[in-house]
Amino acid sequence: MYILSYLIKRLGQGLFIVAFTSMVIFTLLRVVPGDPVRLIVGGMAPADVVERVAKDMGLRDPIPVQYARYFGEVMLGDLGRSYVRPQNGMIVSGGQFIDPTTSNMATVSSLIAERLPLTLALGAAAIFMAITFSFPLGLAAGLYPHSICAKLAFFVQSIFVSIPNFWLAIVLIFYLSVQLRWLPALGYQGPSYIFLPALVLAVEISPVLIRALSVSIAQTMQAEFVTEARVRGLPERRIILGHGLRNAAVPLMNLLGIQLSSLIGGVLVIEYIFDYPGLGQLTVMAVANRDFPLVQGIAILTSAVFVLINILVDLASFSIDPRVEL
């Protein structure tokens, strides 16, 4: 019961945050100079057509009115239609003249739904790779702070955190894909295309993981209950797994929740470089095309995911460690 009321409270706050985010993005997109209508109708369209289309689309109303209308539709589950992407997938070039109020533009939700699985697969692969790599290293560094492992962990951490992700991506594409022809790199035609971008993302995530893991393991292993467990004669293996890792998991999960926003930044660039047809690449394209509904839809989705993951992290921390207050 307590958990339920907590969930309701957190989801309510989350809804408020999502509304706030969408409002900020919505307002900023309309305040900065640059008229999307000109891009929509094409460069050759006469001025009165531009005005007519803008009026039809409600783009000349005051911003609060526009936002209220937009958010009302979002609450009903309608994220609107793209300004520039028709349903058949062709992007209209600048010279043509189209009328977005009559033509069949793809809905934002369908565009997102098409790309989302690919991005999720990429993220999952990257986190999996990062964990399999950093877990043994971080654990060893935390358990034996003066060993060669700890030095190695520090070294790896410093190097990895200093490599700009997109630069690494370019170098990897060049050597592994262009020269050695081991792995495909650009576009997406099958699961093997996930490997390289996921590797680059994993290199970006793992230094944070290694550090957090080694620090919290080292702290936990000095705690009184670990000494007591030793006195009680528990095997070292059980102490590490049952006490050390269990307690280290909470700060680690919190960190992953916080790191999510920089991870999203990484995904954006990596997808762009690898021409990987996920949400990140869609975002970059949407901004370049001034496709406002699409940008807003992606922003709302990301902040909702962000809110949900942070709630999940708190719930998981609570179930692992009852001392954590909800």
């Binding site: 945050i17 706030f20 985010t21 900020v24 993005i25 900023l28 997109l29 900065v32 100079p33 640059g34 971080g138 560094a141 935390g142 702070p145 003066h146 700890a150 030095k151 962990a153 520090f154 951490q157 410093s158 190097i159 955190v161 200093s162 490599i163 700009p164 992700n165 997109f166 630069w167 370019i170 170098v171 594409i173 060049f174 262009v178 550090r211 080694s214 620090v215 393991i217 080292a218 702290q219 000095q222 926003s261 920089s262 999203i264 930044g265 954006l268 660039v269 762009y272 975002t283 970059v284 901004v287 370049a288 940008v295 992606i298 922003a299 990301t302 902040s303 962000f306 809110v307 942070n310």
Partner: protein, 308 residues
């Protein structure tokens, strides 16, 4: 400090009497990571300041006849005038990297400075005054933390025309909530200390207490975050440049250089690699310095750090 002030300042300077901030600084400076990082950083700063003054090569002049010259020692077309070769328009890569480093470092430092001022200011105010002011400021902070800032940043810069100032502003906007949180937690703890009550009794104004007594206490936990953040913001700046939303051309920036260079990777790998090396060196030095501060702080405050 006034000569009339009594207390620790007038006592003989034993190791124990040194302020934590000072002990952290000394412990950090002693660590090998700090020495290496500082050495590399000083070298880069030296090159950044003096190389453009001493060399008469321009970073932006296009010379089509000197296109794709390799760095010294690579192939047989290299010349001494262009130590790291030239790019697809015959511009000197060393000079462009050095000037690009100027932009990158300036944007990193300026944006971190701004977010530090804004975040710490709001955080101290919230923690010290508490009550409804605290609630309002912290709610804004929470909301800001869950906005996907990278999307906001590329939306703003993508729709408007990016300038150095707008890039700094956007980066600063994305980073201040973290500082606000740290500053608030320290100010909250500090607020209940005896000396603050003493100052209030003595009639010190809120602003005086905040500016003269709170600010110094929040510096130790903030400094290493700030150093690491300069590196993070430099990466962000490069990402923006890479997406075509960075410092406007023809000014050299790491992002645009790497983005342009990747088209010529097969025949002229140095165009993208050399700026990348410069950036990686700068990031490595900043990260080493920041990590040294963090470890030193953990040592001084008794927390244990995993390694070394």
């Amino acid at each position: 400090m006034d000569a009339t002030v009594y207390g620790p300042e007038s006592a003989p300077r034993l190791a124990l009497n040194k302020s934590p901030a000072r002990r952290i600084l000394e412990a950090a400076v002693r660590s090998p990571g700090f020495k290496v990082g500082m050495g590399v950083l000083l070298l880069l700063l030296f090159a950044m300041v003096f190389y453009p003054m001493l060399s008469d090569v321009s970073a932006t002049t296009i010379n089509v006849r000197a296109r794709f010259l390799p760095p010294i020692g690579v192939g047989d077309k290299w010349i001494w005038a262009h130590p790291l070769g030239t790019d697809q328009l015959g511009r000197d890569i060393l000079m462009r990297s050095v000037v690009g480093l100027r932009y990158s470092l300036f944007i990193g430092v300026a944006s971190v400075f701004m977010m530090l001022m804004l975040g710490c200011g709001l955080g101290i105010y919230a923690g010290y005054r508490a009550g409804w002011r605290d609630t309002v400021i912290m709610r804004i902070t929470d909301a800001q933390l869950s906005i996907p800032m990278i999307i906001l940043a590329i939306s703003i810069l993508g729709v408007s025309t990016p300038t150095v100032q707008s890039i700094i502003l956007v980066l600063a906007m994305s980073g201040w909530p973290l500082y606000a949180r740290v500053a608030r937690s320290v100010a909250l703890a500090e607020r209940s200390m005896e000396y603050v009550r003493g100052l209030e009794v003595l009639g010190a104004s809120h602003w005086r207490i905040m500016l003269l007594y709170m600010v110094p206490t929040i510096l130790p936990p903030i400094v290493f975050i700030a150093v690491l953040d300069v590196a993070r913001m430099m990466i962000f700046e490069t990402i923006l440049g890479f997406l075509g939303l960075g410092v406007p051309p023809p000014a050299p920036s790491f992002g645009t250089m790497i983005s342009d260079g990747r088209k010529y990777l097969i025949n002229a790998w140095w165009i993208a690699s050399c700026p990348g090396m410069f950036l990686a060196l700068a990031l490595l030095s900043l990260n080493l310095i920041g990590a040294a501060f963090e470890r030193a702080r953990n040592q001084v405050f008794g927390g244990s750090d995993g390694s070394q």
